[in-house]
């Protein structure tokens, strides 16, 4: 018997997830992403994971509930994920990430890393960036060159069992309208054969508009769509367009069945039996 308090802590934390089916067949906890540590690997070690969980449960989630009274639909699709996925959303405000994490299920949230602009968060405000990494599990995502390194690092997350949350527009919308998606998201998905979960957020611009630093209460809505999978020979640019279309469709309500799935598909996705079988 070795003295391993962190291991014990992890065991207990993972073992006692009350009220939820234990994710016994979920991909085993991957080791922290190896060196080079440019992606802030410490943010995915056990003490940071536990601290983040406490911060999320104790502060962030109740605060989000209070500020946004979020209306979330389509959560059942997250229960259906059987491998690492790329979560793609529109981006209008700094409040988006917290709202998205709120909308995810516990199981997915704990295994999700968030892409954060390297130049904005980690080069201009390095300490703020580190705090945000601890709080939201972000990693630096370069918007200014080094695309191969960025894509390779991101791919490693997917291969290590992490979900990747990406804002495919690359930046917050200046006026609330959704901009074109960058093709990197399609490339990542096709290269790693990862499903893409399209999500549309509405209302966060009223909580914290671009340029504001104090959040204000306002209702928000999160629509989660049916995961998309690239066709065998689908070009990554075409797949990116498909993802963008899906998010745009979610923006217009009510979403059609092609994006969010037919009721039969959603019904099966939300079946407790389906979760157990996975």
């Amino acid at each position: 018997m070795s003295f391993d308090p962190l291991g014990d802590l992890e065991q207990v934390r993972r073992g006692f997830r009350w009220g939820e089916t234990r994710p016994s067949t979920w991909a085993p906890a991957a080791p922290a992403v190896p060196e080079p540590a440019t992606d802030l690997a410490w943010a995915r070690t056990e003490p940071a994971l536990t601290a983040r969980k406490l911060i999320q449960r104790g502060v962030s989630m109740p605060f989000t509930e209070l500020m946004a009274r979020p209306h979330v639909s389509g959560r059942e699709w997250l229960d259906q994920l059987d491998r690492s996925a790329i979560i793609v959303s529109n981006h209008v405000s700094h409040a988006d990430t917290q709202l998205l994490l709120y909308a995810l299920t516990d199981r997915v949230r704990e295994r999700t890393v968030v892409s954060a602009a390297d130049d904005y968060w980690y080069q201009e405000h390095p300490w703020v960036g580190r705090m945000v990494s601890l709080w939201l599990n972000t990693f630096p995502f370069s918007r200014t060159g080094k695309p191969q390194t960025v894509l390779a690092n991101s791919g490693m997350f997917l291969q290590s069992g992490w979900h990747l949350l990406i804002y495919a527009e690359g930046t917050r919308s200046p006026d609330g309208r959704m901009g074109p998606f960058r093709p990197g998201v399609g490339y990542l998905a096709t290269q790693n054969r990862a499903p893409v979960v399209p999500i549309h957020l509405r209302g966060t611009d009223r909580i914290m508009a671009r340029g504001r630093s104090i959040p204000m209460p306002a209702p928000a809505r999160v629509r989660i769509g049916k995961p998309l999978v690239a066709a065998p020979k689908e070009d990554y640019r075409a797949f990116t367009r498909r993802i963008e279309d899906a998010v745009r469709t979610l923006a217009q309500g009510p979403p059609d069945d092609a994006v969010r799935g037919t009721w039969v598909e959603r019904w099966r996705a939300s079946s407790p039996g389906a979760r157990g079988r996975r």
Partner: protein, 525 residues
């Protein structure tokens, strides 16, 4: 086996008897020789509800198994009862959720894509999203709400269709989506014998034009009681309408019953007979009594309305409406019936905090009348518990208190109509049409969460039979001005009320106390 209902005669050894009193309770000592009528204890629930539901769907009564009726490409509508059933609302999972899950499982298996779920509100208020979620469960809610799971809109000119006219000249209307479906599945919960059967579709999915055919003074006066369908003109009319609906659209009816376990363990003393109260029940009563005496009304209301009943499913049947309903009524009677020998001069009733039309709202004075003299008085079969010309003594605070969101037309009904007359016939002739067609009430009914403009009239008509039958009505503990506006007498204490009643029924009257809820059905011989 659960204990049957009982009629207990008060002697000197009997403990005082519990009276519900709005959002409060009181213990009263009835004169020696009075009788207390208790309903049967809760029947045991089905051990495997989901298995029972599946069995009912695959072995229906006088109908084909549900799986054989479902096919890809069909248009399927599932209607469910609204929040007026059961009372108090059921602790999760609600029976509607259990049944819907099984039905939808079959529909998904058959590949039926075009499915709509409609809350059969009739002229009741629209249910809120949270209320719908509670009734149907998270899974059904997140799959269908809001596009394919919604409230019936009885005032939508495009959303309702005229089905025809019965042989007695009664107009029949139906929700358009239901009327144009290949199959309508109705999921019902029958709490008392009045519910279910053809009445489910004929009122739940109808418009004012259809509902007014039987919700009128003449029909309700001819329903003695509407808790016993064979003697009820209301039900005869609904059956005629329902048969016409069955000719127009294929209906598969599912009926469920629950036991009368109406209160959670914290309020166990309300469920039990006083003779069974343990020390902890007594302590609980004392605590509740002190708190309800002291606490502000809105806090008491919040606490009472947050109670969820731990009902258990006692039966589930599916198939053809009449055949199913006949069996369902047997189950309901088994749970509720208590045999009572003869009538008495006086009946006393503690009116509780909740009735079918004030879920999450105060019970306004009109609804006190509707609940006390409409529903509770009518919980009989054969003859009323009180003789003709007798006195009903109700216990309720009966405050001038209305929920402006849910009951806007009730306020005007009380202020304007009752100030003029309390006679149901005159009220119907002079005022009903105006309230029923008022555009502002219609707007609130369709877009907010208000009851239909005509609803206070129906609540009043509901009590018409009791008002005609009784020689006097006395409300104990009520607000004096309000009770007088209702046309009744007011007493501060039960003893005073009994003395006042003697002026109507003579000295040394016989007295029955209906100890409810939990609900019972007095079979008076």
């Amino acid at each position: 086996m659960s204990r049957p209902g009982a009629v207990v005669e008060i002697d000197r050894t009997m403990p005082p008897v519990l009276f519900h009193h709005g959002e409060g309770v009181r213990l009263e000592r009835l004169p020696v020789g009075s009788r207390v009528i208790y309903g049967p204890d809760p029947l045991p629930g089905l051990p495997h509800p989901q298995r029972a539901i599946r069995r009912a769907l695959s072995h229906p009564i006088e109908d084909d198994p549900l799986p054989s009726l479902l096919r890809a490409g069909m248009k399927l509508t599932i209607a469910v009862d609204d929040l007026s059933l059961p009372l108090p609302p059921m602790a999760a999972p609600d029976v509607r959720q259990l049944v819907l899950q099984e039905v939808l499982e079959l529909a998904a298996e058959a590949g039926v894509e075009d499915v709509h779920l409609i809350i059969a509100t009739g002229l009741h208020r629209r249910m809120t999203a949270d209320e719908i979620r509670h009734a149907v469960g998270d899974r059904v809610f997140s799959t269908f709400y809001p596009e394919r799971l919604y409230n019936h809109d009885a005032e939508d000119p495009e959303g309702n269709v005229h089905i025809g006219v019965t042989e007695k000249g009664e107009e029949v209307t139906l929700n358009r989506r239901a009327a144009e479906s290949d199959l309508v599945i109705y999921v019902n919960l029958t709490l008392v014998p009045m519910d279910g059967g053809h009445k489910s579709m004929a009122t739940g999915l109808a418009s004012y034009r259809g509902i007014r055919q039987h919700h009128n003074v003449k029909t309700l006066l001819g329903s003695r009681s509407y808790m016993h369908p064979p003697d009820s003109d209301l039900h005869h009319s609904c059956i005629r309408q329902g048969q016409l609906i069955e000719d127009a659209v294929r209906v598969f009816h599912i009926e469920t019953t629950v036991n009368n376990h109406s209160f959670p363990s914290i309020a166990n003393f309300m469920q039990k007979r006083e003779t069974d109260w343990t020390a902890s029940d007594q302590a609980a009563f004392l605590a509740v009594k002190q708190v309800t005496d002291l606490a502000p009304t809105h806090i008491k209301r919040q606490v009472f309305h947050s109670m969820r009943a731990p009902y258990a499913l006692t039966s589930v049947r599916a198939g053809q409406v009449d055949a199913v309903h006949e069996k369902t009524l047997e189950s309901v009677r088994e749970q509720l019936t208590v045999e009572v020998e003869g009538q008495t001069d006086i009946v006393t009733i503690g009116v509780p905090y909740i009735g079918p039309y004030n879920v999450f709202a105060p019970m306004n004075p009109v609804l006190v009348v509707c609940t006390g003299l409409g529903y509770l008085f009518n919980l009989y079969r054969g003859r009323p518990v009180v003789r003709e010309g007798g006195v009903a003594i109700l216990s309720h605070p009966c405050r001038y208190e209305f929920d402006s969101v849910q009951h806007p037309s009730y306020i005007d009904f009380y202020d304007e109509v009752l100030a003029d007359t309390t006679d149901p016939h005159q009220i119907e002739q002079r005022y009903e049409e105006r309230f029923a067609t008022d555009p502002w009430y219609r707007q609130l009914f369709r877009k907010s969460h208000a009851y239909h403009g005509v609803h206070p009239f129906y609540a009043w008509y509901w009590a018409a039979h009791a008002m005609q039958h009784l020689g006097d009505v006395i409300i104990v503990g009520g607000d004096r001005d309000t009770v007088h506006r209702l046309g009744f007498k007011c007493a501060t204490r039960l003893e005073d009320a009994l003395e006042m009643a003697e002026q109507t029924v003579g000295r040394h009257p016989s007295i029955s106390h209906l100890r409810l809820p939990p609900l019972l059905l007095a079979d008076v011989r």
